[in-house]
Subunit: 346 residues, 3 copies
C-alpha cells in the first residue's frame, strides 16, 4: 500500500529532514538493500556506513542520532523511537492479510460449538463439541480444535495447528502451523518390565497476547494445567512438557526444551536450544544462554551459560582456562622435571 | 465421573483408614492443590509436609508408609502400590474420551482399504490404497495413512499424524498429532558437485504398545526397516533416522535425536535432547543423560554424560576439575615463580 | 519390479562376473541381509567379511576392488561407481510411487490459482488465491499452499506440509510432511514491559533441487527473503530463522538450528543438532560437527567442534587435556608439597 512520505511520517510520529516529503513510498527494507521508493531505519551505528551509498527515499533515526553523509535524495525521519516508528511504517506499507469473515462450507463444526461474531473459519477446519471461539478470531484451513476447547478474541491460528480437548486460549494469541497444544505429557511408571502410562487429564492454559511458533509442542498437565503467561513469546520447535508454569513476557527461542513441572518466572529469556530439567525454577528476568542445560534453579536476574549451566562469568572464565589447559599440561611436566633436578641438587 | 470413596478404594485395591468412606470424590489432584472432594497420593516423603494443611478427602499411601498430622477429614487409602492405585483412580474419575464408532462421511478411503470393526475414522482423514486398520482403532481428524500401511487394533492416532506408505503399526499404539512416521531418510552421495539422492525404499515397523509424541519424526529405512520395539515410549520432537533398531521398553525423551543405523537395546533410556551419531549401539538398560552426545557404543547398564559422552562418574569428576581450573592456572604460575627463585638460590 | 540380472547390469552400467546372468532379481538389500533374488553392493572393505556367507544373487563392486571368497552363486557387478550404479538398481527395482494425474474433487482451489499440466493435487489440499503450481508437481493430501505462493515443476509436497503466503519454490523440490515454510520469524522489540511484534513481511525462496525434511521450519524474512540455495538438503526438525541465506548444496542434518540473518555458504555441512547464533557466516565447505554451537564466523573449508565451537584439532586437544585434568590437579598438589619441602631445606 504506497503512501506519500509526508503522511507516513505523520502516521509514525516522525519529523522529516531533507529529502522529498512528497515522494511515494511503496515498501520498507533494511539499510543494506533499501532503494528509491523505500523507507528504512538506522538505529545502530554499526550500519551507519551503508547510508552514504543508499538510494532509499527515507530513513528513520532517533532524535540526536548523528548521521553523516546522508545522500541529498534521502529524507531523515527523526523520531523518539525509530524502531517502533519503523514497525508502524511496515504495518502501514505491508498490511497484514485480512481473511474474509466467513465460515467455510468445508469446515466441520461438531455439536454445541459456540462461535463469536466476525470470524473466519477456513476450509477443513474441525471444531470439536462444546468448543468456543471468540469474536474476530481467524481459524485457518485445517486447524483442529478439540472438545471443550476455548479460543479467545482476535486470535489467529495458522493451518494445521492442533488444539487438543479442554485447552483454553486467551485473546490476541497467534499460533503457527503445526503447533500442537495439549498433547499428553510424557509420564510412565515402570512395573513388571514395562512402562505403565500415567493418565494425562489436565489441560493447557494460554493467556492473552502469546505467540507460539511453528511445530512447537505444549503438553497438557498430568493433573492441573500447563500455563503460558500473558505476553510470552515462544519460537518454533520448542518443547514444553506437562505442568510447566511459564510466566508473563517470557521469551523462549527456537528448539528450547523444558521437561516438566518447572516454573519459568516473568521476563525470563531462554535462548536457542536451551534445555531445562524437571522441577526447576528459572527466576524472574534470568537469561539462559544458547544451548545451555539447566539442572538446578536459576536465580532471578542472573545469566547462565553451559551444560551444566553456571553463572555466565564463571562459565566464560572456565572456557578461557580450558583453552590454556593443553599448554598447562606441558608446563606442569616441565615444572616436575625442574623440581626433580633441584631435589637431586639439594 | 464422581465416585463414592468406598467404591473408589475397592476399585483401586486400597484399605480406608479414617476420613469419610461415604464421601463423594469427583476428581484427582496432586498433594499441593487437592481439596475437598478430591483424591491425591503421597509417595515421596519430600511432600509429606503438605498433608497437614490439605483439605483433600483422601490420599493413597503405601502400606507401612508413616504419615503424620493427617487432618481428621482425610481418609488414607492404604495399598501395596499407591502410584498404580492412583493411576487407576485417575482413570476412573477422568475417563478417557471415547469416540463414537463411525466412519466420518468426510473421510476419504481409497481403493481396497480393509477396515476392522468398531472403528472411529474422523473427518478429513485420508486412508490410502490397500491400507488396513484393525478393530477398535481410532483414526482422528485429518490423519493421513499411506498406501499399504497397516494399523493394528485399539490404536489411537491423533489429528494430522502422517503415516507414510508401507508403514506397519502394531496394537495399542498411540501416535500424537504431527508425528511423521516413514518419511524418507536423509541419504545422499556427493557426485559432480551435487548431492545425489539415495532412494529410501524401506519402511517403519512399530510394535505393540508404543507411544509416539507430537511432531516426532521416524524415517523409513533406506532398504529394510526402521523398527521401534514393543512398549517403547517416545516423547515429542524426537528425530529417529533411517534403519535404526530401537528395542523394547526403551524411553526416548523430548528432542532426542538418533542419526541412522543405530541399535538402541531394550530398556535403554535417552534423556532429553540426547543425540546419537550413526552406526552406534546403546546397550541394554544404558542411560544416556540429558543433552549428552554419543559418538561410540555405550555398554549395557552404564550411565553416560556429556558431549562427547563419558561414564557418568568420570564426566562428573571432570566437571568438578574444570571448576577448579582457573584457580589451578594461578597456582601453577605461583609454583613457577617459586621454583625460579629457588633455582637462582641453589 | 523384478528384472533379469543381465538387464539390470546393462541398465546400471556394470559388467557381470560369475553368478547367473539370467537370474531374476526382485529387490535390493544391504550386504548383511541380502538373499537369493536380491542385489547388493560392497564399497567398503569393512563389510567384505559378509560376502563369504551371503546368498545374494549379485553384488556391485568397483573396478579393481578385490573381493575374496565370493560364493559361486553370486554375480559380481563390476562398474566404475558402484554406489551410483546401486542407486540406479534400487530405483529400477523399487520404483517411486506415481500419483495419478488428477485434481482431487476434495481439494479447495481459491480464486485465480494457476495450475500447470500433469499435476496431482490430493484430497483436502488447499491452494490459496493467485498461487501457481508448475507442470508435473505432486501436491499430496492436505497440503496448504498460501496466497501468491509459487511452486515449480516436478515438485513433490507431502501431506500436511504448509507453505505460507508469498513463498517461492523452484523445480524438483521435495518437501516432507509437517514442514512449515514461511511462518513468521521471531522478532520483537521490548517496550513498556512487553514484547512488541516486529512485522514479518518478507518471504522464503527455495531454489531448485532442494529437499526439506519432515517438521522442519523455515521462517519468512522480516523484510526481504530467507533463501535456501539450489541443491541444498535439509533433514527433519531443522529450524531456519528469518533472513538466513543458505547457499547451494549445503547439508543440514536433523535438529540443526540457525537463528537469523546468517549466511551459510555453498557446500557447508552442519551435522546433527548443530546450532548457529544470528548474524554469523559459515564459510564455503566448512563443516560444523554434531552438537556444536557457533557464535562467530567459521572460515571456509575448516572443521569446527564444540560449544562454543573451535577448530576441530584444537577442540580435540582440549578434550584430551580435560580427561587428564583430574590427575593434573593431584600432580600440582604434590608439586606444591615437594616445593615447600625444598624451600624449607634451602
Amino acid at each position: 500500500m504506497p503512501v506519500i512520505l509526508r503522511e507516513l511520517a505523520d502516521f509514525c510520529g516522525a519529523r522529516i529532514e531533507g529529502g522529498d516529503a512528497s515522494a511515494l513510498i511503496h515498501s520498507a527494507a533494511d539499510i543494506m538493500t533499501a532503494q528509491s521508493g523505500q523507507v528504512t531505519q538506522l538505529t545502530n551505528s554499526r550500519y551507519a556506513g551503508h547510508i552514504k551509498d543508499s538510494t532509499a527515499s527515507a530513513c528513520f533515526v532517533a532524535e540526536g542520532f548523528v548521521v553523516e553523509n546522508v545522500p541529498p535524495g534521502m529524507a531523515l525521519l527523526v523520531c523518539a523511537d525509530p524502531e517502533i516508528s519503523f514497525i508502524k511504517a511496515v504495518e502501514l506499507l505491508h498490511p497484514a492479510r485480512i481473511y474474509r469473515r466467513q465460515i467455510s462450507p468445508q469446515a466441520v463444526l461438531e455439536d454445541n460449538v459456540v462461535l463469536g461474531s466476525e470470524l473466519y473459519i477456513g476450509p477443513y477446519a474441525v471444531i470439536g463439541e462444546n468448543a468456543l471461539i471468540g469474536d474476530g478470531s481467524e481459524v485457518l484451513a485445517g486447524v483442529y480444535i478439540g472438545k471443550n476447547a476455548k479460543i479467545g478474541k482476535n486470535c489467529r491460528i495458522h493451518p494445521y495447528a492442533v488444539i487438543y480437548d479442554d485447552v483454553e486460549i486467551g485473546d490476541n494469541v497467534i499460533i503457527h502451523s503445526g503447533a500442537v497444544i495439549g498433547a499428553e505429557g510424557f509420564g510412565y511408571k515402570f512395573r513388571n518390565g514395562a512402562h505403565v502410562k500415567v493418565p494425562q487429564v489436565g489441560n493447557v492454559i494460554i493467556e492473552d497476547n502469546v505467540e507460539i511458533g511453528a511445530n512447537t509442542c505444549i503438553d497438557r498437565g498430568a493433573l492441573g494445567s500447563t500455563v503460558i503467561g500473558m505476553g510470552s513469546k515462544i519460537d518454533n520447535l520448542v518443547q514444553i512438557g506437562h505442568n510447566n508454569k511459564v510466566g508473563k513476557h517470557v521469551i523462549m527461542c527456537g528448539q528450547t526444551g523444558v521437561s516438566g513441572s518447572c516454573t519459568i518466572e516473568d521476563y525470563a529469556i531462554l535462548a536457542g536450544s536451551a534445555g531445562v530439567a524437571d522441577h526447576v525454577t528459572i527466576g524472574r528476568g534470568a537469561v539462559v544462554m544458547a544451548r545451555s542445560g539447566i539442572a538446578g534453579d536459576v536465580k532471578a536476574g542472573t545469566q547462565v551459560f553451559g551444560s551444566p549451566a553456571k553463572d555466565k562469568k564463571v562459565a566464560y572464565k572456565e572456557q578461557v582456562a580450558i583453552s590454556k589447559l593443553p599448554e598447562l599440561l606441558k608446563k606442569v611436566k616441565v615444572l616436575e622435571e625442574r623440581l626433580s633436578l633441584l631435589e637431586k641438587d639439594v
